[in-house]
Symmetry: D2
Subunit: 264 residues, 4 copies
């Protein structure tokens, strides 16, 4: 499906719709893009994004002009911050003559994390999703980040003569907020709520520390989701949040999960 | 995380919560199960399901008893219909002493479809999702089915001297309704809205027919989503629907998409 | 791409190839099918399969007749055992006039497993892959099964004052063998090689037992892969095997892995 | 699982193995990493990689030291070329005191492609896999790239009064070679073998051109795999290749596939 019409070619999209229903959202999905993102430690970092772009479509028009989404993205400067993201939303709404615009960026965000005892550095990667929705002049931005963490089961620890099962869990924190919020802030909230953060590089003294500190703070998925929710409740900039925790139970082939959502 | 407590073992879950926040939903995810489903042509069919089960948790309790979800599923009779699904929701709510219960079944549903000219039979598989949410005495059921179909691009057909690009698309129809609704009804709505259904077994005369009939009915994702929405609008039993169409464009590496949602 | 040619339609596939190269394997992928499989406890079980079918193609022919693969599958009786699988391979080779035939079935296999102390039953699902390759009169069958299990880290256990990290692992056992081999045999080999099997339903006394027995038998991925390899080495029917272990480390966001392959 | 041993901590990995079997490959999987790759047009480009690292392990040792893999990667300079990749393999072999080393990098590779008529630029992304295996002093490198492309069915075109079904296909080209080979070379081979390349940004005149040129060059998966194989046969640097084509048939819910592998 293509875009601008040379004089001699039919503009099928601008024809009237056979079924006169307005469409909530129409656009393109899974565009891949190199991306530059702001970063608290380094200033900026390079990553890659998967992008979805959409608009609403009134009942009167047969089709949207799909190539205009790609043109908007090509004209965009590939450096993601609040202003550039807002500019992209605005540009899409204008190019497509739409009332609403919708943009999603999904990208891995990298932090060089130091191990807890030896301070050995290792790259950690966090899947992030930035969603922007513009309706008229109103804009809503939602930032989400998937943070891997460790849970030690409090029940297993209490009832067993030795040990307790632990496992990797994924903590997804989604937030809407005023002003500027670092991805690092949401990552810290998620990591602080589990039994332990996870690390890429752990020397022996680090592994001992992670094991012991995780066993000193056993958490159910219920504890993790509440801990993150409480921290988001107290965060002065956050006005809406959703936390989802999935624990890949090591004693089962299935997961435990919990979620809390709140408009403050 | 386990369940009933022998007298000598600590019931950690029933302890008071450190953070007194109520949890919207807590439970287990990705349980696998053999399943029997009602089927318009054969009476019943055998398939397999991936199941999520959850409840809400008041602020006062530290944890839910995860093993009770699995017990509820084990005691359930493995034949899915309206009454058995409702019984499972009710059983979970009672076993977990919860106000809300939540059940999701995801399963492939098989239909032996005849090809359009030679009538050759072939198995088609449709991914279905049945979601049930009970809050007090109120129950909401949502049925969703992913229907593969074919789209021929109207723009490409209009502007090209020969041919037009076509591709596979996925039409997801989600509906809430009164009374009993066959999965077959939603599948037919999705297939009727695209350029052509897809088939598993096509002999040469069938392939000619599918090609020609699809080219006689070119559709944008906008046309497919509107066509399905109109059919759902007119369906007397449906009181809420959502349609999502994703077309895996053959001239691009990305998809086109469209969605409409409506409470009638 | 279609099959038998009515008299008036061109058989494009039988035309000479533009590039006269023989093709190793050509066919269809990801066909979905209800399936009945032999089962040690119940006799048979119902499941669903994803199927790939292929043949070789000599340099002289432009194309294979794809619909014949589907016809072979439709004519097949949907009950999987050694004889029916061999019959399907033979049928495909004949229908496609090929020298080689290739069939893969992937399906979840269900076992009702009892928990270790209370004996509570719960469905476990194991992803299985059965591959058959026929070249002339020679046939090679390979059976593979993915078995979730639990590993407790021996290093973490040795160096920590309390606890040790544990996690879910996936043990993939692949084998070629003489005579008949139950999937249950391969599953038992995998489970016996890890720190503990995993279960779907664990009551409190079971969770205590699983935790304690897993901590009494800590295993690196190296231990698991060697334990399974040794059991397969000693199995009188197995003449080739491959074991792959992936441990979803709970202290990392990445996995540890190990593999051993051997022709006996 | 951790690495260097402080004096007071037990080195469990260096203990003798309970089961004295040598392990083919042991290591870490799914490490995420920012990466810089050489690029024909721009010099270098930034992307992200998923990395697997492994070694062999003699029968005498209980375990490998997993943290050394991560240390090797952390010490590596994050700019991927022949020399740095070889240096990483060598470093891993030395750090782990192994005879064999194994490294895999998977990353999206970006090219700004111009549309065929209007010359409009758009980012295309290609999934690449670079595998290195070192055994003693022998090294084998394999480069693979997944190239999306378009196929128009020759059979459907020949037998239908109007149109022909087309679809997206994925062409995977894998090659071993002497000297230096650009990823761009393998991408061009794949694209030249299908009915048409795919593009991210197509204006109306481009869409017309792509449609018409694809319909002027209908291809079965057999044609695509042979075309790519012939080009790789003739390429003076390539000494081994494998081509796999999967076509996501628009008239079916399943795929057609073909593969050719050759040591020259």
């Amino acid at each position: 499906m293509a875009g601008q019409t040379p004089p001699t070619m039919q503009d099928v999209q601008s024809a009237p719709a056979e079924v006169a229903l307005s469409i909530d959202r129409v656009g393109v999905k899974h565009l891949m893009l190199p991306l530059v993102v702001r970063d608290r430690a380094q200033g900026v970092q390079h990553t890659v994004a998967r992008v979805d772009l959409g608009v609403d479509l009134p009942a009167a028009f047969k089709g949207t002009h799909m190539s205009r989404f790609v043109e908007a993205l090509e004209n965009w400067k590939e450096e993601l911050d609040y202003h550039s993201f807002k500019a992209l939303l605005t540009d899409i709404r204008q190019r497509l003559s739409a009332r609403k615009a919708y943009v999603v960026f999904r990208f891995p965000y990298f932090l060089k994390q130091a191990s807890p005892k030896s301070g050995s550095p290792g790259w950690m990667s966090y899947e992030c999703t930035l969603t922007g929705e513009m309706a008229g002049e109103t804009m809503v931005f939602t930032l989400a980040v998937d943070v891997p963490a460790m849970t030690v089961c409090p029940c297993s620890l209490a009832i067993s003569d030795q040990g307790a099962h632990s496992q990797r869990a994924m903590v997804r924190v989604m937030a809407r907020f005023t002003g500027f919020l670092w991805l690092e802030d949401l990552i810290e909230i998620a990591e602080a709520s589990a039994s332990s953060p996870v690390y890429t590089l752990l020397k022996r003294e680090d592994e001992k520390h992670v094991t012991e500190s995780a066993f000193a703070k056993p958490t159910f998925v219920e504890d993790v989701v509440r801990g993150a929710a409480q921290r988001l409740d107290r965060h002065p900039q956050v006005n809406w949040y959703r936390v989802e925790v999935e624990s890949f139970e090591s004693i089962h082939a299935h997961s435990a999960f919990a979620s809390i959502e709140k408009t403050k």
